[in-house]
Amino acid sequence: MSISANYPNGFAKGHTSFEIPLIDVMNSDGNVFWVDSTNGLASDSAAGRGTFNLPFATIDYAIGRCTANNGDIIIVAAGHTETVIAAAGLALDVAGITIRFMGEGANRGTITFTTAVTADMNVDAANVTMINPRFTAGIDALTAPIDVNAANFKIIGGTWEDGTSIDTTDCLVAAATATGLELHGFEYIAGDEGGTQ
């Protein structure tokens, strides 16, 4: 027999059962914020949001709500989509945060880079971790969409996906300051392989 329970407002401080964390990334003393563009109630402006039922609309906004080095976690709901259209369009500029993307395959929370070849996500704060992210290219010849400039950036279980007739020049560029970069399980998926990356 199994027992289930739903807590639609989420667990702001995580949750454990018999001292075992129910969701690994919730095993934290920091804030937990939800992001879900598919939720009709999602918004980046109203106070009291960031929960499962009243999520933020963008990762960018959620990052701004985090406190540096506080163990804060952003959970990106399955099906969430976010578009980066310009250089520095998304800044991971709060140290010590973890961004956990929910879902599997194409249903994972997704960040798409498009419009300008210089569109990018800057990792400018140390000790940022992304778990299970899905990145897609919406334009040909992106030059450095994942731009790592800070120490100890970590991606666990991510994918980069080019589309048809899209060939990303460099999907992740790490500066000399990106010491301790860790990629654990990262797949580059070419599009139609019609061009040169």
Binding site: A176, T179, L181, E182, L183, G185, Q197
Partner: protein
């Protein structure tokens, strides 16, 4: 980005430079493991481009290239475990990446393969019109030691050489005679086969090509003409371990 850890990386596509690149400043103390890369670039282009001074460890790195054996641009100063392999054809078992340790079986085999007394051959095809009085290089310059020329075999196609009086092969050695083989162009017409011993004009066996020197083909009196071809195969015996030479 010193002290980076890249594990479980998979990537395939037509990459003009490389799939993983360290091109600006050497990365120190990097850790690669469980890397699976396939670069279909026809040039071919390696899967990994590394700064020559990069350091660290590589374990279970697998690199498939379109052709050739340059799986990584440089093995740099990394230590590559025996499970790092390169591939250039479907279905093959892989070629170790990294410099074989001299004390390993592979290292000892490599040393045996190029020790003094072993044979190396060079082949070059010349079009008749390229055989000039001024000369055309058959080989590049040798290196790492002297090479004994044991034989030269020449075969012409259905046209062969034309015009010119004699076809000669010479070295630019500092010592000894330059020309060690000579045959009349008339005897190198259609479908002829000659060897060092059969040169009717000059035939000197046992010539040593000095290290840093090369072989040159020439015609005498007039340049050769026409589209006929002559295939030249030269058999060298190493007089020093590692002595080597390649066609021009």
């Amino acid at each position: 980005m010193d002290n980076a850890i890249l594990t479980g990386i998979k990537g395939a596509g037509d990459f003009g430079t490389g799939i993983i690149e360290n091109v600006t400043d050497e990365v120190l103390n990097i850790h690669f493991s469980d890397i699976y890369l396939k670069n279909t670039n026809a040039s071919p282009t390696p899967c990994m481009v590394l700064d020559a001074n990069a350091t660290g460890y590589a374990d279970r790195v697998n690199c498939r290239v379109a052709s050739g054996t340059t799986y990584v641009s440089s093995v740099a100063k990394l230590n590559w475990t025996g499970t790092c392999l390169g591939y250039n054809a479907d279905g093959e078992g892989g070629d170790p990446i990294g410099t074989a340790d001299a004390s390993s079986i592979e290292g000892k085999i490599d040393a045996l393969a190029i020790q003094a007394g072993t044979v190396i051959s060079v082949q070059k095809t010349l079009v008749s019109s390229a055989v000039l009085q001024a000369g055309v290089d058959i080989t590049g310059v040798s290196s790492a030691g002297d090479l004994l020329i044991e034989d030269v075999v020449m075969s012409t196609d259905a046209t062969g050489l034309a015009v010119g009086t004699n076809f000669t092969i010479e070295s630019d050695n500092a010592n000894g005679v330059a020309v060690f083989f000579g045959e009349t162009v008339a005897n190198l017409g259609a479908n002829k086969t000659e060897s060092l011993a059969t040169g009717s004009v000059t035939a000197i066996a046992g010539v040593v090509l000095e290290t840093g020197k090369k072989l040159i083909a020439k015609s005498t009196v007039a340049d050769c003409t026409g589209a006929g071809e002559i295939d030249i195969t030269i058999k060298f015996r190493r007089l020093a371990a590692g002595a080597t030479i390649a066609s021009a």
